[in-house]
């Protein structure tokens, strides 16, 4: 930050950090991204989850999922590849093992859901709508690492329309559609999601990518290819947010390589209303809290009293 700040100067009674995603209000715009924060409880000993904007859990489908063979991740320059394969306990296992903890938090839990058919998406959405206490649903139509489901729905506008519409029909929970970056233009997908009743968009998911061990000549992932995340994708993600912002009115949650407040502010200026911390959770679990504090410092330094003023405030001339 350009101006010097001392601890304790952050608090300002007039400053508004809260943002809305449909009917859901977040105390601040910083959440943790699906797949990088488990089901919340795992990180509860390392940071105060109640200071976050929201916790977004790892993708859940109807039944348990074993996941892909190992190796499942590989470190690359300024990022990582993963092909976990959405391992998870299924709806019932999730509710049994993790829901009471998430429900006890003062911040909303956003449930990332997926399926292999339109009907399964709708059934999972209905189950979480009926559960009571869920903050919002994030529709994962963009995981690159499973053969059926996920990305196929995020790379065909007609299928995407059916998934969003089917979920919209069965629940009044705010719906967030997590769009795939693996398309020529994100705009038609953003428009379809908005038209079918999505309350917000998450942009972006991981980028299809590959790495090879040159000694063994084998791919570094058992799945051969995986999804690239981390700081190396940030400029591409910012551009996707910028593209979508000019096309739709609904809130956008920007994500892709955020490590610090400056990264998050860039997403807001490009058009995001909120942000999510992903890969950085793995190496610096306190990142989200540092980003919240840094955003407050920035607002104070620039005499901005409402975080919402930053959304799309990039200056083009």
């Amino acid at each position: 930050m350009k101006c010097g700040m001392r601890n304790g100067e952050r608090e300002s009674p007039k400053m508004n950090l809260s943002v809305s995603i449909g009917k859901l209000t977040l105390q601040n715009p910083v959440m943790v991204a699906s797949g990088t924060f488990g089901y919340g409880a795992e990180y509860a000993r390392l940071l105060d989850l109640n200071q976050l904007g929201a916790v977004v859990v790892k993708g859940i489908r109807l039944s348990p999922v074993r996941g892909n063979p190992t190796p499942r991740t590989a470190e690359v320059t300024s990022g990582m590849l993963n092909a976990i394969g959405l391992q998870g306990p299924g709806v019932d296992g999730f509710i049994e093992k993790y829901w009471s903890f998430l429900k006890s938090l003062r911040v909303p839990a956003i449930i990332n859901i997926w399926g292999t058919t339109v009907e399964e998406y709708a059934e999972v959405a209905r189950r979480f709508g009926d559960l009571g206490g869920v903050g919002a649903l994030e529709l994962n139509v963009s995981c690159p690492n499973i053969k059926e489901g996920g990305a196929q729905f995020g790379t065909d506008p007609k299928l995407l329309a059916r998934v969003v519409a089917a979920c919209r029909k069965v629940t009044t929970l705010p719906l967030i559609t997590k769009l795939s970056p693996n398309v020529t233009s994100v705009v038609p997908y953003a428009l379809v999601a908005e038209a079918e009743g999505s309350d917000a968009l998450s942009i972006t998911n991981s980028f299809p990518a590959m790495a090879i061990d040159i000694e063994s000549r084998r791919p570094k992932l058992a799945n051969v290819t995986g999804g690239l995340t981390g700081p190396c994708i940030k400029p591409i993600a910012i551009k996707l947010v910028w593209d979508a912002r000019r096309a739709v009115k609904i809130p956008i949650i920007g994500m892709g390589g955020i490590q610090c407040a400056a990264d998050a502010i860039e997403f807001l200026l490009a058009g995001a209303n909120a942000v999510a911390i992903g890969t950085a959770n793995f190496y610096e679990p306190q990142t989200a809290l540092a980003v919240i504090a840094g955003i407050q410092d920035y607002l104070k330094c620039h005499d901005i009293t409402d975080i919402r003023e930053l959304t799309g405030a990039v200056r083009l001339s």
């Binding site: 990088t36 390392l46 190992t70 190796p71 300024s78 993963n82 190496y283």
Partner: protein
């Protein structure tokens, strides 16, 4: 489990490519159980973002130490750090070894290379003294033998090239001992997966229990990323479980070895 900035007390070469790192981390030191690990962020690694996991070797009062081998850019960068420098440590992590009970089975420890370090606290805290079988490719791969002897444990070393101890594989000398007497024994092992697999097979043959510590690639270290999974038997088949959370120590009979890499 806590995240703390830990100062390096010392970081010195042990033998060959092996180093001993001692960190000042009182809370971690006090909470450490045998077989647990530390997850370290190595500051000089700017473009390699992920933390690196290391078994805890010793935990004394305010310090914890690890014994590591330089095998890549993470450990190379760590080896260049010196006393007084700081790094971020998360720990102690993972589910460790069951400390033997007084009057229970005699512990037989089986270690390959730096796997030896992961077993030191187990030997130190075991009320029941036992034997250590340690193997390596060459003499320089046999680590911290003196520390185990100081605890009053018998150490049998094996090297593949015969440059130290008996020539051969560590499992051969374990086999010889079990053939002599396999009654009331329990195995504890840490080393390369191939060695662990061989130990599991021996445990099966002699019908002795075995706890094995798996060394897998890790990313988050706290159970969320699902990188470090191994196949573990369940009532209905098998599932992937996390080495960082359900492990690194597993009952060898629970591991689905035919699927494990």
């Amino acid at each position: 489990m806590v995240e703390r900035t830990a100062q390096i007390i010392s970081n010195e070469r042990d033998t060959d490519a092996y180093f001993r790192l001692v960190l000042r981390a009182p809370e971690i030191a006090r909470a450490t159980q045998p077989g647990q690990f530390l997850h370290l962020r190595i500051p000089p690694l700017r473009e390699a973002l992920l933390r690196r996991p290391f078994s805890i070797f010793q935990a004394n009062g305010e310090t914890v130490s690890v014994l590591y081998k330089t095998i890549g850019k993470g450990t190379d960068a760590l080896a260049r750090m010196g006393a007084g420098e700081e790094l971020s440590a998360i720990g102690p992590l993972g589910h460790g070894f069951t400390v033997p009970a007084r009057g229970g089975e005699t512990p037989l420890l089986v270690a390959g290379g730096y796997g030896m370090a992961a077993m030191y606290l187990l030997a130190e805290r075991s009320p029941q003294k036992g034997m250590v079988f340690v193997g390596g490719r060459r003499r320089v791969d046999i680590l911290c033998e003196a520390e185990f002897r100081k605890l009053g444990w018998e150490v049998r070393a094996t090297t593949e090239d015969g440059s130290y101890g008996e020539k051969g594989m560590v499992t051969q000398s374990l086999l010889a001992e079990l053939k002599r007497d396999s009654g009331k024994r329990k195995l504890f092992a840490c080393g390369p997966t191939a060695m662990l697999k061989a130990v599991a097979k021996i445990a099966d043959e002699f019908k002795v229990p075995a706890e094995i510590s798996m060394d897998e690639h890790m990313c988050c270290g706290v159970g969320v990323c699902l990188t470090c999974v191994i196949p573990v038997k369940t009532a209905s088949g098998w599932e992937y479980q996390r080495t960082c959370t359900e492990g690194p120590v597993f009952d060898s009979r629970e591991v689905m070895w035919e699927v494990a890499r």
